[in-house]
Amino acid sequence: MLVVVVVVGAVAISMRKTTPAENRVVKNPDTLVYETIGEMESLDPAWAYDTASGEVILNVYEPLLLFKGGSTDEFEPRIAESWTISDDGLTYTFKIRTGVKFQNGDILTPQDVVYSIKRAMVQDRDGGPVWMFLEPLIGVGTYSTRDSDGNISIPFEQINNAVTVEGDSVVFHLKQPYGPFIQILAQTWASIVDENWCIAQGDWPGTAETYENFNNPQTPPLQEKMNGTGPFKLDRWEHGVQIVLMRNDNYWRTPAKLKSVVIKKVDEWTDRKLALLAGDADFVYIPRANVLEVENLEGIRMIKDLPTLAADAVFFNFEINDNSEYIGSGKLDGNGTPTNFFSDKDVRLGFAYSFDWDTYIREALLGEGKQPASPVIDGLPYVDPNAKKYSLNPAQAENHFRQAFGGALWENGFKLTLLYNTGNEPRRISAEIFKQNIENLNPKFSIEIVGRDWPTYLRDMVAGNLSMYNLGWQADFPDPHNFVSAFMSSGGSLSMFQHYNNPLVDNLINSGIIEPDPAKRQTIYYQLQQIYYDDVPSLMIDQVVGRHVERDWVNGWYYNPIIPGTPWGGDYYPVWKGY
């Protein structure tokens, strides 16, 4: 019996592998080709805040330390040899590695490290990543070096004193404890650049006099050039076409196995697919709609169920703009919605109970996602394992809608328009689901769904015209603070447009970040998660699960949700091709 099984198994295996390992050819074995859609913004580490740029910077520059493999809470040294954090969590000391060379041959010194961080803070462009330095080093709540009129408002001393050289070490002086600071330092915006080289490129000379001139430039000084300490160096950037990286042969660790990495911008899925099938591309980005097309094909490895640190939510607008074109009459008269529609908790609950996560995840995400209970999503610390979630429940929905506005809503019904940004299928589908389930409750309820291109969607969202809006968030650093502040605080990047103002929440968020004691932090974040469920300021729609696809001759790729470019690309240092 057992014999049979073994035989069958053997046969099965041998059938799966039609060609034996040894005589299988690897297409261009020392070059890795990754075809994707994103267009890089900039090669300047202090400027780049998009994953496409981040991915390249990650492979050319190095920060003091990096996340260890796939983990989001352990670190391994890079430019730093070792580090210590004072008990009060205010002083971070990094011992700088010696004998590290920049790609142009310069030797890396602690001064370079200090320059890199200061330079970033001096540059601090609008919409850049540098706020992550400002909050810990200048003070929580400081998101920019400028005031609302765009004039520089942070005196140079503050920047200058924030980080200092002490012997062969570099010391960071925090304004207050900031739990995730170490995580922030482990990323591309904390990349170490070569001071002399930068100055030679016309960058900030490191003096107080001129720092204002280098603040918030039109285009970054290192837009097109790179000189890092990392495993790869920039060969060329053909805008809109591709970027080519070459191995750095005198890397301070053993040089990378790949000779070159080509990241091509290929807009059309069909083109990427054919390249993958032909073996011309080793990694490709696949739109979720098409993932099934390349499943279990010979020569292609599909790695599934990769947990991401990205979540999508729909935000209820508590005070819709009076002259919004999407609320009909603007009154509770059946052919419109009042501007304070969603400030009534029953309405929010009604919507919450009308969303069908199962259908949504099945249809829109093809099963590759899950329903988070709150902004504190899986993969982050301090997730409350038994946080409550909403689920489709027409009965509940109905009785909440009946209670809303003292029954007036149920009487008169309402009419409102849901927008989604064209091209984003999941969001359209989520809107369709709301429409279906809510219109079924009461013939007087009617929801119209309209697609708008992103610029228009953005305009209406900023203007407060949208009654509800979908937005997604991807972790800057794997800490609850990054999420709760964005999703819940009154001034949060996502929540700022919904006019949800809960002082308690804001206080909790602020105290949570400066709290050094993990136990205390946990209670704070648990409390926030509870409030989120009770108050439903917004509704978590999904936390997607990622995939990675590669030719089966690729080895060594690893997944870390916080590394830019993952799950499709990522860190190319350990990657090699062959059977």
Binding site: T270, A289, N290, A364, L366, I429, R452, T456
Partner: protein, 312 residues
């Protein structure tokens, strides 16, 4: 009575040449197989447009131009008994889409050609009839429009007005009138010097009267030809806009958009490359034949009405 019959005869006499022209043209059309094909194609489409509610019954009371779809699954499904032409990305029924798409096509082309023609006529006549500085100004303006590759201009306008079918309509009108104005002007210039115009002026007819009664009738033909050719061209452009994602909203019955749906499905799984052929081919054929119909007709007209080629 006497005088009336008299007048009638006069009228007949005066109309005789025009009538002959018409008869002649009609015969030419009859004799040219291409134009016959063109006309019949257009008739078929017109029928489809009119019978749309019968051919593809709209579900419930919602806007009939929204294509019905079962579920949201992205993968297209091949033709089957309840989806004659299969379903495209997002499970939209292709059959329903193309049928109602015909109406969209007619609406777009007629609206655009009509309005553009009107603007073109007015401006062209004024420019050509009065000449001088007026003419100069208008023609420089048209220069500007014609110096652009129109697609870019339309794209710019559409993005400006926010991607939607209406924006495409408006943009098309804005971009299309100059070519008509140009043509009309040229024609008007050529007839302006004719004796009968001089005569009409001499007997003190008002400019408006002269233009409408004497200038236009004698300069309208080539413009009509162009218009009929454009009916197709406009649908092409509109479709292109939808294809670039600047046109009709998702799920709206519009040929161009249905093709854009198929963009990701032109190649099937390995071993079965044409698995999703229907998503590409079917809507495309509809556009193609619609345009073909108008172009054939227009081309025949052009040949017939071209005074240089008449008789021989």
């Amino acid at each position: 009575m006497e005088s009336l019959s008299n007048r009638w005869n006069k009228f007949k006499a005066s109309m005789a040449p025009r009538v002959r022209e018409l008869k002649f043209s009609l015969r030419r059309i009859k004799d040219s197989p291409l134009s016959i094909v063109g006309i019949s194609i257009i008739i078929v489409f017109a029928a489809i447009a009119l019978l749309a509610p019968v051919l593809a019954r709209p579900q419930s009371s919602r806007d009939p131009y929204l294509i019905p779809h079962e579920g949201f699954s992205p993968t297209p499904r091949p033709p089957n008994e309840n989806h004659r032409f299969g379903t495209t990305q997002g499970q939209y029924d292709i059959y329903y889409g193309v049928i109602w798409g015909t109406r969209t096509a007619f609406r777009v082309s007629i609206l655009v050609v009509g309005s553009a023609l009107l603007i073109g006529l007015v401006i062209g006549c004024i420019a050509g009839y009065y000449g001088g500085i007026v003419d100069e100004v208008f023609m420089r303006i048209t220069d500007i429009f014609l110096a652009f590759p129109y697609i870019i201009l339309i794209m710019a306008f559409v993005t400006a007005m926010g991607a939607s079918l209406d924006s495409v309509l408006k943009a098309l009108i804005i971009v299309w009138w100059p070519s008509y104005a140009r043509l009309i002007r040229a024609e008007v210039l050529s007839v302006r010097e004719e004796d009968y115009i001089e005569a009409a002026k001499a007997v003190g007819g008002s400019d408006f009267r002269v233009i409408t009664r004497h200038v236009l009738p004698n300069s309208i033909y080539p413009v009509l030809v162009m218009a009929s050719l454009d009916m197709g061209a406009i649908v092409l452009t509109a479709a292109a806009m939808s294809f670039l994602g600047l046109g009709a909203p998702v799920g709206y019955a519009d040929w161009g958009q249905m093709i854009s749906f198929s963009r990701n499905w032109i190649v099937g799984p390995p071993g079965n490359p044409f698995a999703y052929w229907y998503t590409v081919v079917i809507p495309g054929l509809f556009i193609f034949f619609f345009v073909l119909g108008w172009s054939l007709l227009g081309d025949a007209f052009r040949d017939i009405l071209d005074p240089k080629l008449r008789r021989r």
